[in-house]
Symmetry: D3
Subunit: 282 residues, 6 copies
Amino acid sequence: MEAALEKSRILMEALPYIKRYHGRTVVVKYGGAAMEDPALRESFASDIVLMRYVGINPIVVHGGGPRISAMTARLGGRPSFHGGYRITTAEDLEIVRMVLVGVINKDIVGLVNRHGTLAAGLSGEDGNLIRVRKREADGADLGFVGEVTQVNAAILTDLLSDFIPVVASLGVDAGGQTYNVNADEVAAAIAEAVGADKLVFLTDVAGIMGPAGELLRQVSTADVAGLRESGTILSGMLPKVSSALGAIKGGVPRVTILDGRLEHAVLLEIFTDEGVGTMVTA
Amino acid sequence: MEAALEKSRILMEALPYIKRYHGRTVVVKYGGAAMEDPALRESFASDIVLMRYVGINPIVVHGGGPRISAMTARLGGRPSFHGGYRITTAEDLEIVRMVLVGVINKDIVGLVNRHGTLAAGLSGEDGNLIRVRKREADGADLGFVGEVTQVNAAILTDLLSDFIPVVASLGVDAGGQTYNVNADEVAAAIAEAVGADKLVFLTDVAGIMGPAGELLRQVSTADVAGLRESGTILSGMLPKVSSALGAIKGGVPRVTILDGRLEHAVLLEIFTDEGVGTMVTA
Amino acid sequence: MEAALEKSRILMEALPYIKRYHGRTVVVKYGGAAMEDPALRESFASDIVLMRYVGINPIVVHGGGPRISAMTARLGGRPSFHGGYRITTAEDLEIVRMVLVGVINKDIVGLVNRHGTLAAGLSGEDGNLIRVRKREADGADLGFVGEVTQVNAAILTDLLSDFIPVVASLGVDAGGQTYNVNADEVAAAIAEAVGADKLVFLTDVAGIMGPAGELLRQVSTADVAGLRESGTILSGMLPKVSSALGAIKGGVPRVTILDGRLEHAVLLEIFTDEGVGTMVTA
Amino acid sequence: MEAALEKSRILMEALPYIKRYHGRTVVVKYGGAAMEDPALRESFASDIVLMRYVGINPIVVHGGGPRISAMTARLGGRPSFHGGYRITTAEDLEIVRMVLVGVINKDIVGLVNRHGTLAAGLSGEDGNLIRVRKREADGADLGFVGEVTQVNAAILTDLLSDFIPVVASLGVDAGGQTYNVNADEVAAAIAEAVGADKLVFLTDVAGIMGPAGELLRQVSTADVAGLRESGTILSGMLPKVSSALGAIKGGVPRVTILDGRLEHAVLLEIFTDEGVGTMVTA
Amino acid sequence: MEAALEKSRILMEALPYIKRYHGRTVVVKYGGAAMEDPALRESFASDIVLMRYVGINPIVVHGGGPRISAMTARLGGRPSFHGGYRITTAEDLEIVRMVLVGVINKDIVGLVNRHGTLAAGLSGEDGNLIRVRKREADGADLGFVGEVTQVNAAILTDLLSDFIPVVASLGVDAGGQTYNVNADEVAAAIAEAVGADKLVFLTDVAGIMGPAGELLRQVSTADVAGLRESGTILSGMLPKVSSALGAIKGGVPRVTILDGRLEHAVLLEIFTDEGVGTMVTA
Amino acid sequence: MEAALEKSRILMEALPYIKRYHGRTVVVKYGGAAMEDPALRESFASDIVLMRYVGINPIVVHGGGPRISAMTARLGGRPSFHGGYRITTAEDLEIVRMVLVGVINKDIVGLVNRHGTLAAGLSGEDGNLIRVRKREADGADLGFVGEVTQVNAAILTDLLSDFIPVVASLGVDAGGQTYNVNADEVAAAIAEAVGADKLVFLTDVAGIMGPAGELLRQVSTADVAGLRESGTILSGMLPKVSSALGAIKGGVPRVTILDGRLEHAVLLEIFTDEGVGTMVTA
């Protein structure tokens, strides 16, 4: 009886959130521990499926990370980075693409499919979803690293009523050349293009910390600017924070930096009063 | 942290039920304590709204009960019954209609509207929704008491995509005469007509009891027949059990006799492993 | 042969009016003798059904009047008015609602249904159709008397392709409290909200009279202002004239004040050169 | 006042007929006096337009008659007939087509357009609407006289929601050769193909007469067979009666042989109790 | 093998043109040798059918020419012209209409139908497609010669998804009177009204010639103005050139004056690099 | 001039084939030289794009072949086969998937996109497109080699109106495990599931040869059975022939075994009288 009351209390707590996000699109940048740890992977997949069933349209965007480096090493290469970007030769690009599209993307698709609704994997190359140009990096040649110039969302729209799209962060330039693209950037660009109501970054940190090291629950873009200037935001967080600010400028009303190391982090963020991580709003 | 885990556990427990009922119609016969007690009324309304938001199409059917008798008395009449049916003179009928449609139906509509999605009240007379003929009762003349002959569901269909229909248990005969109809019977007839996946009777008992007085969680129609023959089912339950069996025969796969005296009984029945009350299946 | 010629002449006379109103919406405020006299009731219902069949979308709006006072008296209350408004206590409101929704509305629905097309009864509470706020009356507290602030026409739109909506003049405020609302005001607000081509008030007078007591066939809003200033319009007509002017200001091109004491007044007004009553235009 | 009552009485008399034919298709074979006399032409056009406005879909089919013979003579030819069919040489066919499509069809289109809704003229050749084969006539060679083998109704369907189709009675064979076709036959074939609710033949007789020379109001196909055997039906009526019986056999529920010499004959037939002419039913 | 390569080369050459015109509308003014010579007629029909199958929506517009004069003479009249316009008496108009609609239009419809897709013939009178007013000609009375004032394209739109419209160049004025209209002018007006991507005039000349008598492949409207001023454009071409400039001003991006004396001129113009005739662009 | 005539002749030759396949689906199994040779790759892509533009819906299915073995070797493995199937360990499967989905599929997508219409790459895992079970091989354990049990074509249907689907031949079993599947088998299963009008196998042979070594242009399934029994069909062709027969049995009317070593083989097969390769029909 106690248990029953507790259950109904928690389901009721979810109701206002279900209302708020009903029929809305939420873009989730998937990565970090949530993508590596088996238990976290399962909890992530079930969160996404629950979102879908209560009427939210989730879109998952992912990059590669450690597995790309592992495969590069195995094939005799040596990953090198510049300013946070993986320098990508033609040979590297082939490995990136194999791992991103042929391993990670399909693993996520299979994971979601096993939880009972259907995912469809896409590369940013499919239907020219992500158009890019070569990224300029003062001095250095990053190789095939692109920056997003346009999102052709038609392929997402066609799939969204029946499937959960899972997008690997690649793009193509005007000439049809494939590029490696930062997944945070792709997630932000897609969120803008489809008019998402929320963009969630799954990370391996608790969120944005304040000057006293305390977790900030909610910050405005102005707060973020202040924290950045005062050096409070750690350099590792800077690109993510940049993508977040860009997305908000582009019209996405809410961006959350979420601690992906917690089980069901996405679900708790979306459906409970708790809130895990830091929400950035205009 | 504990709380968060508990929350995600309970939301996850709901997921398979959300999947099962997604896009399905559930007809709820509303009545008894759940319609009289203020707290239970609120919990009922929020349960119905939650159902709607997670993609279920609820239809609420209600009768009148004590308030009709009260108004009859106030207007100088004296309620009289025969075989469980309210003998309904022309003057009684006007009172029944005033109270059912003009008081109870609109109270339920207002209750649901205040919980954030929109209800639309209907009488079985609107759009000839419930067609009836005069009920024969061996010997006695029941007056304007009808039995359902047909459901014209078009008005429900028109409203169902935007609203939660709330139906007062009246009907009209071929000549346009209004009749009082048993609400259990109306609920069962509507459940059949719209192809509902589940029919729920909110009652003031725990459910169907077994020979040893224990609550039966799930029974087949065959079990019910046995219990009825052996006299285990109390006479007060018999009409409801009859409506349940009729609905199952008419193609409704699941009928639940639910203890409406519990808060959030509908929600617990639909979304948790708990199960409250007795589910009757073919 | 003569008869045949006469028939074709009259049907032909209707043709330009059928063309003019084809596919348009006409809101009819129903009341007065046309609602009380049995023969007039029948002729009203058949007029509405004919309108529907020749491609016009009629919406009927009604108030209560004498029957509310009768029931109030029967239940021991005493109707009291202030400035034309029924002072409405909580107990009065319950009676108003019972009679408006549970008696009059359903009687009209049944009446129309018996003439061969289907009506669907609504209260302004259904789907929050009529949003109101408490009406201020200098000095006096009118109780639960509302003035319209918004019309949520979705429920009308959902029903209009299959049914003739019949609306009881109640409303709800932002907190979900029900209010009694003047039916002329509700009719005018609905006419504006749905972009009606015509608003018809069925009254118990011949129309608007000129200074010499002659019936005015057609007047402009400017004419009406003049008549009002010169005191030619009787005080009983003033609220109706106010609603008419408001509707025209809100974009309804034609408002007719019609003599509901004539059989088939609506039909003659819509389909013949005759014209009965006074048409007010911008 | 008297006039007003008479008007409402007649409009009310039309109501049940408007209901019966609402949304239905009525095929009218147009010809005879109604096509030649200027006043009858106007009354015909307004009848068709009225039908359209009250929700009926009329389709007009016409032949040629006297004007073809006149043009043939003017161009130096000499019309000749065999068994009621115009023997049609290649040169005759060109004249038939010129007059049917280039004169009569466009005159009817213009006539209807001037009454306020839009007609669209078609030949049975357009979109291969009427497929025919050469008609065999024992012994004689009728030339380019076809009998209908198939109706490709797509072109009617495309136009029917916005226009009144007016069809000239020509057809094409499998090789694309045009043929002259009897207009009664074309009307009957189209009525079958589009599932018309009624087929009306406008003629220059009062209808089918009984043995005593009295006009028969309604006859069954069995009655017609009897009258034919007993020689009561005049030979001039026989082909029309044949087409009527064929249409009924093909599923058209009602065929009326109408006296087109009366003004508004179509309107009186469709909308009044009068009935003019003879209705044949299964 | 050689042949196969040649075939694939030519089909590939067509690809960019198929892409460019996919889903677009092309209006073809049909006339001259292409309408008289049997072999050219067949090649024209197959070109139009091919256009249709590769996803282009062709609309054919035609006038009359020699056959009208022939019929006029045969019926004892004498064609007379003023400033390039056929002076059209009421009697002439009947002949024009008979020949245009009853002969030429149906011949083209039959021709296209025999090549495997379905044409539907229209006069500018059908559905009031071409609205005109009487053309003023300084001094002279041209009779029933109209100039286009409006295009009611609904009838084209209804037919375009299933049929190839073939339009005879007639029009009606506000009073419903039919007029003879120049076919080039009708083609240009329709091209504007439907937002055609290209307008093609089939003529009996090679195209627009330059000062040295050389064929000009592509000219701008400015070039054309220059050529006209310098007297290089022959008077016979002037009306056509006027219509072309009007269409371009009205938003048609490309107008081609095509040599209809070549087999498959339309096909070569649309699908190959060749280009036959002169293309005029803004 | 000569050239122009030749061009129009060839485009006209294509017309009947464009008609035949208009709106139909053609599944192309892509592989062999056509997938390896750069010039053939380009000609293949333009053929597919042309098909699309003339109204055919192509679906491309591909396997892996030499590039999988190359990557296996590079990663230190050793490809081994049994009965024509690649024995696939868990580690092999990862390589198969990386190469099929992450390299070959995306290369084809890019190739088509560069020719001007948009391709969308899919794995048989996306949306559970290809459901399989483990393939039994008498005695041997083939590892993760599946045979098709079901095709969930919804994802193809969603994409087909805007994109050209390109499918990598993988599948998933009921438990969500990925399997390597023979691409001919996948192509045949998809052709059946979507009701394709034609299935084309691009191979490195001329087609099916007769007893005298001559290329057979068209054979029935009965002929094929005879050739197989008589040992005329070489063992390398047997699996392909099996898939062809299976597809025909499953309702695909035409299967062509095409010589992919010819430029524009697909285009010549679809659009010319030539025909390259062998067409198998029921």
